[in-house]
Amino acid sequence: MSTTDPDTAPSLYAAREPVFPKKVTGHFRNLKWVIMIVTLGIYYVTPWIRWDRGPNLPDQAVLVDLANRRFFFFWIEIWPHEFYFIAGLLVMAGLGLFLFTSALGRVWCGYACPQTVWTDLFILVERWIEGDRNARLRLHRQKKLDFRKARLRSTKWLVWLLIAVATGGAWVFYFTDAPTLLVDLFTLDAHPVAYTTIAILTGTTFFFGGFAREQICIYACPWPRIQAAMMDEDTLTVGYREWRGEPRKHSEEVKNGAEQGDCIDCMACVNVCPMGIDIRDGQQLECITCALCIDACDDVMAKIGKPRGLIDYMALTDEERERSGKPPKPIIKHILRPRTVLYTSLWALVGAGLIFALFIRPEIDMTVAAVRNPTYITLADGTIRNTYEVRLRNKHGEARPFRLTVKGHPAVRVTLEGTPYQTVEVPADTMLNQRVYLQAPPGSAPAKDERTDVRLWVEDISTGDRAYEDTFFNGKAN
């Protein structure tokens, strides 16, 4: 049975406690700046890279052409039937996340996740305009909206909004010719979908980076839950050397005369945390392992003349070793384990397979769908005819003449619908649907046998490139 005392029941809903991360310097902060510049640079610049593909194809290096169902990536062009390349890349991305998570924990969250990168950028803007942690705290606590507060707030929001618009704007450039779209956007000639997409992404960027921040990671993102299943006792994660730091300076134990540990309870690690947690409480769901607390603590340890690493990257196994007085395992031993080697091998295997598939794929391509409704027809003179719907793909930037031939039985002849010739011109970068007839004269073996294996060949007669597909010919078996 359930018992609840309504008078003592606590509130089940809590208001967000605002987080004001303090500025921090150090190795990990520098690494994060570099990653931010590189990732944002790739995101904003990529659509503007040009790549000459000839007269009939777009000259944008990376283009997702939804209207024509093509994906261009520098020298690679992916057609819809080659979607397995995208599937392969997704498998690689998945294995890559497994690898990084099993070796380095939530390193994706801490360094490369767009939510982290943009929030970091928004906090940087906030710090430039409103000042560091204490100034921002004061501004937050100031109830009265005077001119200064209004000016700082509106400046900050305006800069955020500009970043958000640029973010949404950069996204749409991946889907159409960027320079043309940029002009169209300003002359109001762009497609409504472009404006809607920019508006939605502007809104989400502004809201997620400016206001929701750590709440996206805590409440909205499923990744923290999934990651727990992929981490083990050897996974490197950000931790606090409790056995070295405790009892901390202001604790009851120290007041009662116990010898103080290395932690001087300066709260530097808490003040820099973008998630608003205390790493000294141990591993927590909120922690995205951004490692800023390591930088903050190392700084303090240097000032008080203690060794660095009170807060550090470590694994669960290190705790047992260090508590028993042994040195921690070297980082490389945490990273090089059978599990990570396996993930790396699988990742490399899929990658090698994709590259191999990319190199052997032909420039011309054909798929043959035999029409089996009906399986065959009899012509007036008794000839048996089978029909095939053939898709001819020309991946070149100019029209090419394709000739169709059939091998398998000398009596089987090929004819094309709509033309007396065996050659059909396929326009540049296009798939052509061509109905193809195979005919066997009355009395011949293929006309009488239930089934004859045949091979359809397509040849680009301007280059001699060939491709084939096997199918079969149905005869009048009775």
């Binding site: 018992t3 609840t4 089940l12 805590i218 409704n373 005819r385």
Partner: protein
């Protein structure tokens, strides 16, 4: 996301709920979360007012926005017809024979014609247009009334042997059971079979030639190659609408056949008739 107590000896905060001695830690949801929950309730109420929702005795409340799937379909059909108006206009204004020379018209006719065919024609002629006994195969190159674009168009538009359309193609084979005796029928059937290269009884076939010339050649021609102006089938080829075996041919000669096709200009637009004619024409047997 319960914050750990500052003092390790202190009990963590609970919700105060207790089930059989099991207590629940308090992990408070963010306040905005519960606002969103209230917002969805309000939105839900608005939705039942705006859209068809509450079941009544006859039907459901219609909603103030007047939304209905039926109206949406009608609108979608109108939009498609408006979008196709230009090409339909072009399709109905050009010469029938020149449709196949225009790649744009041909591509449109292939898809639009297929849609018409699958809706109106497939019931008899089959979804693959291969026909069935009594319903001609449209894939082969044998045509009762002609396989040119013009001939197919006329057949589709007016139909065959129907009462509704005075321009329908019309012909009737007499039931020779009333005219010839059984022996003559046996002879002529054997003669017809020998013509198409399926000889059965040479003696009867030789006797049947005279019966054929006297009774059948007016429509089927003396050499048996038929006459497309009268819809008289070619009896010398490999194709039989009802079957080329002795029993079926005997039945055909004795009782005659009377296949009908409705006139489609009552139900289909001019553009649809042209599209489906072009579709049938390009199926492989068009002449």
């Amino acid at each position: 996301m319960a914050k750990q107590p500052k003092d390790k000896n202190q009990e963590p905060e609970t919700t105060g709920h207790e089930w059989d001695g099991i207590q629940e830690y308090n992990n408070p949801l963010p306040r905005w979360w519960v606002w969103i929950f209230y917002a969805t309730i309000i939105w839900g109420i608005w939705y039942t007012i705006a859209y068809p929702a509450w079941p009544m005795i006859q039907d459901a409340t219609s909603g103030y926005k007047g939304w209905s799937t039926r109206a949406n379909v009608e609108q979608a059909i109108q939009e498609h017809e408006a979008a196709n108006a230009e090409i339909n206009e072009k399709l109905t204004s050009v010469e029938l024979a020149s449709i196949s020379e225009d790649p744009e018209l041909m591509a449109y006719s292939r898809s639009a014609g297929e849609a018409v065919f699958e809706t109106w024609c497939a019931q008899c002629h089959g979804s693959g247009a291969a026909g069935a006994k009594g319903y001609p195969n449209l894939l082969d190159n044998a045509w009762l009334w002609g396989g040119s674009m013009e001939a197919i168009h006329t057949t589709v538009k007016h139909g065959i042997r129907n009462e509704e359309d005075p321009d329908a193609r019309y012909s009737q084979m007499p039931a020779f059971g009333d005219i010839l005796d059984e022996q003559q029928i046996d002879q002529v059937v054997n003669y017809v079979m020998s013509m198409s290269g399926e000889p059965r009884d040479a003696e009867a076939a030789a006797a049947g030639e005279e019966v054929f010339v006297n009774n059948c050649a007016a429509c089927h021609m003396e050499d048996g190659t038929g006459d497309q102006f009268q819809g008289a089938p070619n009896l010398t080829d490999a194709i039989w609408l009802y079957g080329g075996d002795y029993e079926t041919l005997t039945e055909t000669v004795t009782n005659s056949r009377f296949g009908v096709m409705p006139p489609w200009d009552e139900r289909l637009s001019d553009a649809e008739i042209r599209a489906v004619s072009a579709y049938v024409h390009q199926l492989g047997g068009g002449q």
